[in-house]
């Protein structure tokens, strides 16, 4: 007798929703046990993690602030993931986007530049796109794995950021802190609401989600990308150009990550500093998967992960939860999602000796 996984012909709609919900429940249960073992008041921690963010307008607005970059980056990444193009270096493209955007306010700290903000966003997007383009070029021309190249490029991007902040771009009046000058007012994104920090980059992210939906689910190009992912040989036979799929996937994900990076320095940070590299690019990979790589699913998952971030912050205060608990939670969520997703897409089949 042998256990075998058999792919279902079609995953039911219920299953698509069921997998992430089941993963979330399993994650909550496991972390309850883990927290209890570590002597952290588990109920209090979970309350702070999942409910606190909804209990005040301020903390809810912080969730929306976090959601913007995560959503934007994850939408870009998911396009590639569905085409089997694994850009895992969004962190690097995000940093390069932030650097390119910062060039304008660094060189015009008085704001004497027309169209400062649009220039920053465009430069950020193009910078991220070009940086991802390196990986696309090396993959299509030499066959170098984009997984490793994008990862290496991210690590290099961190060093470029360090170099600029410790050297040429350091604020001369910044008490030697590794950060640039504070950006002038015309280099900052307009806020969405009064007194709280979410800015219009959330609108960019939602528009990108709509674009991703129209392209992936309603347009022939999306069909080509999905085919390239699900059945590479069929895509080749149908004459869909593999290099074009790779270029498109990496260009779009780099563009999205670059714009997100630009929005971060032109938004909550207001300057280029080391903390721009806080791992949004890596968290967005988790967001993309937990959202089932579907545009609307990603809107939901980016919201969920943002809630966890903000909840995690409040749990450090109220329940003595270490900051790292959020990482544990994210890691478990993705692991359980990969598990539940497969169990829903496949059914366990029992081969009996007699039938063999």
């Amino acid at each position: 007798m042998k256990l075998r996984l058999v792919r279902r012909d079609a995953a039911s709609r219920l299953a698509m929703f069921g997998a992430p919900v089941l993963a979330l429940i399993l994650t909550c249960l496991t972390s309850l046990i883990l927290f209890a073992l570590l002597g952290i008041p588990a109920g209090k921690a979970l309350h702070a993690l999942l409910l606190k963010p909804f209990l005040s307008w301020y903390s809810f607005s912080e969730v929306l602030l976090k959601m913007a970059p995560l959503l934007l980056i994850a939408q870009g990444l998911a396009i590639g993931f569905r085409a089997n193009v694994f850009n895992i270096g969004a962190e690097g493209q995000f940093i390069i986007g932030a650097i390119c955007a910062s060039a304008f306010p660094v060189f015009y700290p008085d704001g004497n530049l027309p169209f400062m903000l649009p220039a920053m966003i465009v430069a950020g997007g193009l910078g991220g796109m070009a940086y991802a383009g390196i990986a696309a070029g090396l993959r299509t021309r030499y066959g170098a794995s984009e997984i490793l190249v994008t990862l290496m490029l991210s690590l290099i991007a961190v060093q470029i950021l360090n170099y600029l902040l410790l050297g040429p771009w350091k604020d001369p009046r910044g008490f030697n802190f590794p950060q640039t000058v504070m950006f002038p007012g015309n280099a900052l994104l307009p806020l969405l609401f009064e007194n709280v920090r979410p800015n219009i980059s959330l609108i960019f992210a939602l528009l990108a989600s709509l674009f991703a939906y129209l392209m992936m689910e309603r347009h022939f190009r999306g069909y080509q990308l999905r085919t390239a992912g699900l059945a590479p040989k069929a895509a080749l036979y149908a004459g869909f150009s593999a290099p074009r799929m790779i270029w498109l996937s990496l260009a779009l994900s780099g563009l999205a990550a670059g714009i997100a990076g630009a929005s971060e320095v032109a938004g909550p940070l207001g300057q280029l500093q080391r903390s721009v590299a806080t791992g949004y690019g890596y968290a967005a990979i988790i967001v993309a998967y937990v959202g089932g790589l579907r545009p609307f699913g990603i809107v939901a998952s980016s919201f969920l992960i943002s809630v966890l971030y903000i909840g995690g912050d409040s749990a450090t205060v109220s329940a003595g939860l270490p900051v790292a608990a959020v990482e544990v939670f994210q890691g478990m969520l993705l692991s359980f999602y990969l598990l539940t997703f497969t169990l829903i897409r496949f059914r366990v089949h029992l081969d009996r000796e007699a039938t063999a």
């Binding site: 895992i88 066959g143 490793l148 690590l155 790292a324 544990v328 994210q330 993705l334 598990l339």
Partner: protein
């Protein structure tokens, strides 16, 4: 001590965590998998080892505990990828994040505590050679064991049937399965070996190389080890050579002083990654051209 002497003395120890983690990942990749969770497995190993040594004072126990815990984390990856058939990029990142988080969670109450490291031993006779004797040839016991282990691994992979089986599984899993090799079991064992090696690497970093606990102390060494496997083109000797090279580079500013050139340390820190990209292009180009001719 001059910068050169410092480099001679410190390079092997700096290279060791990279070497151990990279050799483990090399075996994983030889069976046709890719586990991106090195950083997390090293971090959790480092935390467990530190806690263990802090309470018992026995480095042996610390290394063993780290190996076990990191191997368990690696088995989560094996379970997801081999049994559940999940995407390995996602699964590797998942256990990576999980490991980093767990290390900080476990290590929270040990933040910036210190323990004592290990004594260093000189090689008999050879340690009297001027300059390199008291520096390069005087190392702690783990370094000497790692040298022996690296040679043993080279022997197993290149001169034994087990080595051939591992290569066969990686190069053509279908064929290996058809001959009757248990592909899934071999892959599971390779992933467990990779986890164990990451655990040992982390343990060395936190209990010998810098015997103190600080959150984030692995500081990207898992990623460097991942690069190292590519740099070494999946060959034990070249990976070991690469570990030394990347070890020197990781000493960054010291190296710059030793060479006597004013290079920004960020350039030196980026070199391993740049060289790896170049290496990847060079290796892939041949296969890519060959596959296009078909």
């Amino acid at each position: 001590m001059s910068a050169v002497e410092f480099l001679l003395a410190g390079t092997l120890a700096a290279a060791l965590p990279l070497l151990l983690a990279a050799l483990g990942e090399m075996v994983v990749e030889k069976t046709g998998l890719l586990n991106l969770g090195l950083e997390g497995m090293m971090a959790v190993g480092a935390a467990i080892a530190f806690i263990c040594v802090y309470h018992t004072g026995a480095h042996v126990l610390g290394f063993m505990a780290a190996a076990i815990v990191s191997a368990i984390l690696a088995m989560v990856f094996a379970f997801l990828v081999i049994l559940v058939k999940a995407n390995q990029v996602a699964a590797g990142l998942a256990i990576g994040v999980l490991g980093l988080g767990l290390s900080a969670l476990f290590g929270k109450t040990y933040e910036s505590l210190t323990i004592s490291g290990l004594p260093e031993y000189g090689l008999p006779l050879l340690s009297h050679i001027p300059l390199i004797g008291p520096t390069l040839l005087t190392q702690d016991i783990v370094v000497w064991l790692a040298v022996i282990g690296t040679i043993a691994l080279w022997y197993v992979l290149n001169k034994t049937k087990l080595g051939l089986i591992i290569t066969a599984v990686g190069e053509n899993a279908e064929a290996a399965r058809a001959i009757g090799y248990p592909v899934a079991v071999i892959r599971c064992a390779a992933v467990a070996f990779g986890g164990t090696m990451c655990g040992l690497a982390g343990a060395y970093a936190s209990t010998v190389y810098t015997p103190l606990w600080a959150d984030g102390m692995i500081a990207g060494r898992g990623w460097i080890a991942l690069a190292l496997v590519v740099f070494g083109t999946w060959q034990t000797g070249r990976v070991a050579f690469g570990a030394l090279l990347f070890g020197i580079l990781s000493l960054g500013e010291l190296t710059a002083q030793a060479i006597g050139v004013a290079i920004p340390s960020q350039v030196l820190s980026s070199l391993p990654y740049l060289v790896t990209i170049l290496m990847l292009v060079v290796i892939s180009r041949h296969q890519f051209r060959a596959s296009k001719r078909l």
